[in-house]
Symmetry: C4
Subunit: 193 residues, 4 copies
């Protein structure tokens, strides 16, 4: 039951984050197609962030499914993750409005990096609680994607000071990498059922 | 359990979309009835979009009810549908503020069309997973409404460049068409219980 | 199960309405107590609307609890109710910013009246489905509060053109009338358990 | 079942409060790091309020878990608590934008104080309903933290007129005090299972 409420609260926060991001796309005053031009980069950054929140929801779903008993550390690690994800609307709006120039691109990457670290902390706390030979620990395994993405975010932040458009490409690339859902967990959980 | 969380997340996103749309109706500064005049078209487009989101929620509800096991493809097809629906507040605000002139009317239709296509994709993935002789496949049948509405949206988009008010009428007409809930599924599901 | 999703969706919409209303209280630019002065009437109208949404949530909760099987008519009657409730943030902001002068006060009453009518329609559809001798029909009985409040709202709308402050008092009075939860239903449902 | 809906509604409202607070961090127009400078104090007040809402969610979760039967008084005491919590986005924005000067700092403390009192009322109503020797009554015990924090908030409000930065420190200190979850209840509930 405790777990249900953790899931319900996280679903609520993620649903709101994914939806209020669209409020950063301000309705233009003009009535012709040209009026949409400044909205386009915000739309693209919105679409990218939408995919990222979708990925987090998807993986969060699989991760929490593996939890048998929620403890206080998990609750706070989960809130910590939600905190960084809640900054997505802000960085999405800033990056979109400034067409992924240096500072907004670096900040976008920083929030992605901090959210990735928060996810890793939550994952570690859950594995620690469930045991090293639990289904979830085996399923995650070496977690190569979980290590590669923070490294790529860090690289993209540094790169933003020289070639911000390349940083943007890295963010899109990492999103595509994760779009393949976390089948590792899914597979092992399914097998054991 | 997986299915519950998919429903809860979709319900959350749809509930937020339907509610934050009202924020596009900006509170007027004046205190007399005349101050409401510019708000009226936004109110009408809000009411139309409210009905559309209500229709999607209703049909989504019946569709997901027929799913026995959620897979990764369904999750992403569902997020894809929510993405287009999440653009409703933006296009509703733009169409309302510009009183359904050409560009906003065409964009409104484009988002309706893309949402309809996304719904069809989700429906196909669910039917593919459940089997061609499953209750849901039989219930949907030839899906005439599901084919007629995208065709009407496409026609309305083209028409928006000549007679945008007629496009608006088409959007209202399709909404009325769907207000009759998807009794096909409801009936067959009920019969088999 | 159907019923759960109707409740979840309604809870979501009501939770969002009650929360985004606070966004109509714009953060003032000044840093002294005097800067709060224009916010005060918005705060008071926010508090009143918060109580109204709380009342609707409370009564809605008892009403839906009595439903055994959700049908299409109930779903749409429920969405119809949520539509009028979703206009609360708009009328609350307008009435608050203009300190309950004539037009905003009348509109506030009109939305209260339309929501009350929508609630009555939902209630009638549920009673019709459950039968005249069902627990819910007996519990509601003559429904004097359900008839008195729309009459008072209508009177307050008319009065707004002469003594808008008295209309405001009527809205506060009706809220107090309903703050006493719908014990009729609660009592009878409890007895029969 | 009643309890589930109370939890679902409260989770919804808390999830929305915690998420819309981020909308007070307005996206800056400039594209360089310097443009973030005025956003920084709003970010810090956002982080503090995020922790407070997280604490309330956490403790609320443990408190409601101990309830066996929800009554009308609990529902209204719960809505009363949500009312004061719903003012967090407003006071967070005002305190952040004015860098915790006198008036915003005092108001921030006032809302914290009123929310703390509302929580105490809810707690008392639940203990009264469950009985003085119930698990929850024993778990809460003398409730030293529940008495110390309102006293500290009151002190901080008075102090805001002389040393507002010290009031800010007190708010941070009380948050840290509560970050340690309410293990009293957790422990006793766990033991008895």
């Amino acid at each position: 039951m405790e777990k249900n409420r953790l899931e319900a609260f996280s679903d609520g926060v993620l649903a709101i984050i994914i939806t209020i991001m669209v409020l950063e796309m301000k309705v233009p005053h003009g009535a012709d197609i040209a009026a949409l031009k400044p909205v386009l980069p915000v739309f693209l950054s919105y679409a990218l962030s939408f995919v990222y929140v979708g990925i987090y929801w998807n993986n969060h779903h699989h991760l929490i499914k593996a939890v048998r008993k929620v403890n206080g550390a998990m609750m706070w690690a989960n809130l910590h993750l939600l905190f960084w994800l809640s900054l997505f609307p802000f960085v999405t709006g800033w990056a979109g409005e400034n067409q992924f120039t240096t500072a907004p691109t670096a900040l976008y990457g920083a929030v992605l990096l901090l959210a990735a670290i928060a996810y890793k902390i939550l994952q570690s706390i859950i594995i620690a609680a469930e045991g090293c030979d639990s289904k979830i620990a085996v399923a995650i395994g070496r977690d190569s994607k979980g290590w590669v993405s923070p490294a790529l975010y860090a690289a993209a932040i540094a790169l933003a000071f020289f070639l911000p458009w390349l940083s943007g490409c890295i963010y899109v690339f990492v999103a595509l990498l994760w779009l393949i859902p976390d089948r590792r967990i899914e597979r092992i959980v399914d097998e054991s059922q």
